[in-house]
């Protein structure tokens, strides 16, 4: 095999790896980018025959692909009118913050419940008849109760039980949070745009490894703060996802009912009754239908308007959040 053939094989392998790493990118953009990188490599080959050095200078194909995705995804979505593209980007963004939210929820529930137990333990001597573990047949109520049928099964030991349970809950919550944050940090570092000293735009998040290392020694209040920060970083994503979900579903339902109105004229419309306002009334219509023959036209117009407005809001949000992310990167 000649040196030239070996060189060409290496280039093709490099471009295949780049192509494989870019499979999630729209075909036209991917091909354009590959063509540009191919052109760059062959241009370099005219100055040097060291293919390995040329490919090394261009950069790792997977890192390059990741950088391309991060650079172009938000810019593409922020200018797209496609509900699918906007919804997908919003969902991805929301999911990237879902871990933060789940950690925050665990922290709030665990520490919140433990805090409640401590408070009730301290209040027991003040309200001995109303605080305790109250049994009602097969159900229990722990905490404050004023029901005349209450029967406190913990008696004078409630303070001790509540203190021990609170301590165990704080310990278990801390353990769970540490494990979740370590796992979250590993995922985060794996998804970092370009690791190390790269020039790529990365997410405005702390280093995954550093987070994983430092979290081992964190006290519970710092874990709570960390969880809150994680949740806040995902709020933008959740906000956009909620806007997309509400806007597209409501707009879609309106358009759908507009189309179905001629098929089910008795059951679709704007029904006003004691229960409120309903768009569809199934199987037996109740209340007064106020839209009449204009329903199809009004619902269709309103549906399109809502989808259009949702698109507009999402584009605006993505553009501004994208700028914010880049400025923080």
């Amino acid at each position: 095999m000649s040196t030239a053939t070996i060189g060409t094989d290496a280039i093709e392998r490099y471009l295949l790896r780049l192509n494989a790493a870019l499979l999630s990118v729209p075909e036209r953009e991917r091909e354009e980018f590959l063509r540009e990188i191919r052109g760059h490599i062959f241009e370099r080959l005219e100055q040097s025959s060291d293919v390995a050095a040329i490919l090394a200078a261009v950069g790792d194909p997977e890192e390059l692909a990741e950088q391309f995705r991060v650079e172009t995804n938000l810019a593409r979505s922020a200018r797209s009118w496609s509900a699918l593209v906007l919804m997908r980007t919003a969902a991805r963004w929301a999911l990237s913050g879902a871990q933060g939210f789940s950690i925050f929820m665990v922290a709030m529930l665990g520490y919140g419940l433990a805090g409640t137990l401590y408070i009730t333990a301290m209040l027991k001597p003040i309200f001995p008849q109303n605080i305790g573990i109250f049994a009602y047949g097969t159900t229990f109520n722990i905490g404050f109760d004023t029901s005349p049928q209450r029967h406190d099964i913990s008696g004078p030991y409630f303070t001790l039980y509540a203190m021990i349970a609170g301590f165990l809950l704080v310990f278990a919550t801390s353990m769970a949070l540490r494990a979740m944050i370590r796992k979250f940090a590993r995922v985060r570092s794996r998804f970092a745009a370009v690791p190390g000293e790269s020039i790529g735009i990365s997410l405005p998040l702390p280093s995954g490894t550093a987070l994983a290392e430092s979290v081992r020694s964190l006290p519970w209040w710092r874990l709570l703060r960390l969880a809150a920060r994680g949740a806040l970083s995902g709020i933008q994503g959740f906000l956009m996802f909620l806007v997309a979900l509400l806007g597209y579903i409501f707009g879609g339902v309106l358009c759908l009912t507009a189309i179905l109105k001629p098929v089910f004229p008795e059951n679709i419309g704007v029904f006003v009754s004691n229960h409120g306002i309903q768009l569809a009334n199934w199987p037996h219509p109740q209340g007064v239908e106020v839209a009449g023959q204009y329903y199809t036209a009004v619902a269709m117009l309103l549906g399109i308007l809502i989808v259009f407005t949702t698109n507009f809001i999402l584009r605006h949000l993505m553009h501004n959040f994208g700028r914010l992310k880049r400025s923080l990167a």
């Binding site: 241009e43 261009v58 390059l64 200018r79």
Partner: protein
């Protein structure tokens, strides 16, 4: 993907890498203010004039984003060498953005230079 040309310790290197990273977009827009250039030509300007040594592939994703943002336009041109080249140039919006960024940079650099001047004088 980025190699710093200066910097003493790893902390200095990281700081300098972040600093240069923040300036890359301005440097690309500024290099295109002189006219139509293709990827490799932009890289040469960045390396020779701005001393920005970076992985060569790095510049293309940024060019793609700037084009999507409407700051650049591009066209493929068949070159004599046989490999088509994608030439980029600034749009009106890109020129305005580049000028605005350049003004911000000049003002920021001048102010910061005054602040760090005592440190530089001490070195002398």
């Amino acid at each position: 993907m980025y190699s710093s040309t200066q910097g003493n310790g790893s902390q200095d290197g990281k700081w300098e890498a972040q600093l240069r990273k923040g300036c890359l977009e301005l440097a690309i827009l500024a290099s295109l203010s002189r006219g139509k250039l293709y990827g490799l030509e932009i890289l040469r300007v960045l390396q020779d004039e701005a001393q920005l040594v970076l992985a060569e592939g790095t510049v293309y994703p940024i060019l793609s984003r700037l084009k999507q943002e409407g700051l650049l336009d591009s066209e493929w041109v068949e070159a004599d060498a046989g490999h088509p080249r994608k030439y980029y140039w600034l749009t009106n919006a890109g020129r305005l953005q580049a000028e605005s960024m350049a003004r911000s940079w000049a003002s920021f650099a001048a102010n910061l230079t005054r602040t760090v001047e005592p440190l530089l004088n001490r070195e002398e």
